[in-house]
């Protein structure tokens, strides 16, 4: 395409964007909402994956103790656990310590705990394993052995959660493709309809262009570019909204402790995923325009031929 034709196409795009400005604003908004939902799923997914990765690095068991355990029995139990061959170190967290940790974790919102008895949280052992004993089956056997202790009420270890969370991540991924996919499909038709509307608004111009010898590509190019612009602008709005939602969540959330500690801070989309969202928007706009235009022109040319 020559420079003169590129200039012509860009002028047509500018003219059309002015003529159907509010229609395009609406379509960009719909694309943005779809990509926002899609991006939210990605955001949840990457944060869960990040958590999973953190848990994978931690080989630690938490054994929660009976509230009525007397100090002598506690010392006996501590010794027994410390002498187990797999165990490297045991840290005893008293009820008082657990309460303080929880208060710290809640930060500014620690006022929520007012009125609650200070012994509401159970005491526990944080058990670290020797590096040679970090195999999944060893951890599982150790957990079983600890559960047999009468003074230990609950035993939790990350691998168990890793499996559960693994399932949740999988569910989120499926939901992303099912809900996100359905929304993308609906948006595909909406963008296609907007392009069709633009085509109808300019059908006289298209007819004249056809009659004076404009190529099909030249006739379609402005509409396809308009579709792409809607997709990319929608994608940019979606990323901005996601960023604002992320900032607001990150500021509102208390610092995380316990099993959620590996998450550290909430993760935002990396550059690759931002590029993915914009590319999805761009492709959505381009594909919807091309398919909608081809169908429209085919029907239109046929109906003109039949007159």
């Amino acid at each position: 395409m020559s420079l003169a034709l590129v200039g012509f196409v860009l002028r047509r795009v500018g003219l059309n964007l002015r003529q159907l400005f509010w229609t395009y604003v609406l379509t960009c908004g719909i694309v943005a909402m779809t990509l926002f939902v899609f991006g939210t799923f990605i955001l949840v997914e990457i944060n869960l994956e990040h958590l999973l990765k953190g848990w994978g690095k931690q080989v630690q068991l938490n054994a929660y103790l009976d509230k009525n355990l007397d100090p002598g029995a506690l010392q006996d139990l501590l010794k027994r656990v410390e002498t187990l061959p797999e165990v490297e170190r045991v840290r005893h967290i008293s009820q008082e310590q657990a309460w303080r940790d929880f208060q710290t974790a809640l930060g500014a919102q620690s006022g929520l705990l007012e009125g609650l008895p200070r012994d509401v949280l159970p005491a526990s052992f944080e058990i670290s394993l020797k590096s040679a004993q970090r195999d999944g089956s060893v951890v599982e056997k150790l957990a079983e052995r600890l559960r047999k202790e009468k003074a230990i009420t609950i035993v939790e270890y990350p691998q168990e959660w890793v499996e559960r969370l693994g399932l949740i991540v999988l569910a989120v991924e499926w939901a992303k493709w099912i809900f996100g996919g359905a929304l993308l499909l609906a948006t595909f038709f909406i963008v296609g309809s907007t392009v069709k509307l633009a085509m109808l608004a300019r059908k006289d111009e298209v007819e004249i262009m056809q009659l004076v010898g404009a190529s099909e590509e030249l006739i379609q190019a402005p509409f396809v570019i308009e579709g792409m612009i809607q997709g990319v602008v929608g994608g940019m709005i979606a990323v901005t909204l996601l960023w604002l939602a992320y900032l607001s969540l990150r500021n509102e959330m208390p610092s995380l402790g316990g099993f959620l500690a590996p998450l550290g801070q909430l993760q935002f989309l990396d550059l690759n995923r931002i590029a993915l969202l914009l590319t999805v928007g761009w492709l959505l706009g381009a594909a919807a325009s091309v398919i909608s235009l081809r169908r429209f022109l085919k029907t239109w040319n046929t109906s003109r031929g039949e007159r």
């Binding site: 020559s2 420079l3 003169a4 034709l5 200039g7 012509f8 002028r11 003529q19 006289d204 111009e205 007819e207 004249i208 262009m209 056809q210 009659l211 004076v212 010898g213 404009a214 190529s215 099909e216 030249l218 003109r304 031929g305 039949e306």
Partner: protein, 229 residues
């Protein structure tokens, strides 16, 4: 320039608009296609600028068989043709100058060159002062002249005009015909479809008569007058 061999056109399900048309139009001729409404004049023009394909037969224009062309080839082929319709088909949101220049721009002429050529043509048609007006502010005759300027902006070798004077008063119709003759004198071939016998009588030329889709006669105006006596 134009050769038709056994050309027929049938619209679904079975309306036969043209039947077995054979004719030849030489370069530089100005030919009237005449006949009552429904005779097939517009269909014949549509076949010539490849708006439609013939159901049977072959059409050669400038030595090239245009019967079966891809959409790319149709677009290229139309760049050599100027089209004038009774319904002028001007874009109301563009100025007169931009309406004319559009036809040049879409085939790759720069905006500057397109506008310069359009301005020159509007000047020749006496519409220089109106170049910045919108078409709806022009009279019917002026609009038709703008449409003619648009048809000429790419220096076509063939001009096809469908009832070009249909909406015009006698003076403007005369001006329009004068223009078409001028273009013919510059070497273009002109085909005018009309049912206006006054127009044909006044601007003597070759007349191809169609009746119910068939070629009824192919006459010079003198013999046409005689046959009507």
């Amino acid at each position: 320039m134009i050769q038709l061999f056994h050309v027929s056109k049938t619209y679904p399900p079975s309306y036969r608009a043209l039947t077995d048309i054979n004719l030849e139009i030489k370069p530089g001729e100005l030919v009237f296609i005449a006949g009552p409404s429904g005779a097939g004049k517009s269909t014949l023009l549509k076949l010539l600028f490849r708006e439609e394909e013939p159901s049977e037969g072959q059409i050669l224009i400038d030595g090239k068989n245009v019967t079966r062309l891809s959409s790319h080839q149709v677009a290229r082929f139309r760049r050599k043709i100027g089209l004038v319709f009774q319904a002028v088909k001007l874009l109301p949101y563009l100025t007169v100058l931009d309406n004319v220049a559009l036809a040049a721009e879409v085939i790759g002429t720069s905006k500057k060159a397109s506008r310069a050529k359009a301005y020159q043509l509007l000047g020749e048609l006496g519409l220089k002062e109106r170049h910045d007006s919108k078409p709806l502010s022009l009279s019917g005759g002026e609009q038709q002249q703008v449409a003619i300027a648009r048809a000429l902006v790419n220096d076509p070798m063939l001009v096809l005009a469908d009832e070009p004077t249909g909406n015009l008063d006698a003076d403007v119709a005369a001006e329009t015909m004068r223009l078409l003759f001028e273009i013919r004198d510059k070497g273009a071939t002109i085909v005018v479809a009309t049912h206006d016998l006054n127009l044909i009588n006044r601007y003597g030329s070759r007349v191809i008569l169609l009746e119910r889709g068939a070629l009824a006669d192919d006459l010079k105006l003198a013999s046409c007058r005689e046959s009507r006596k």
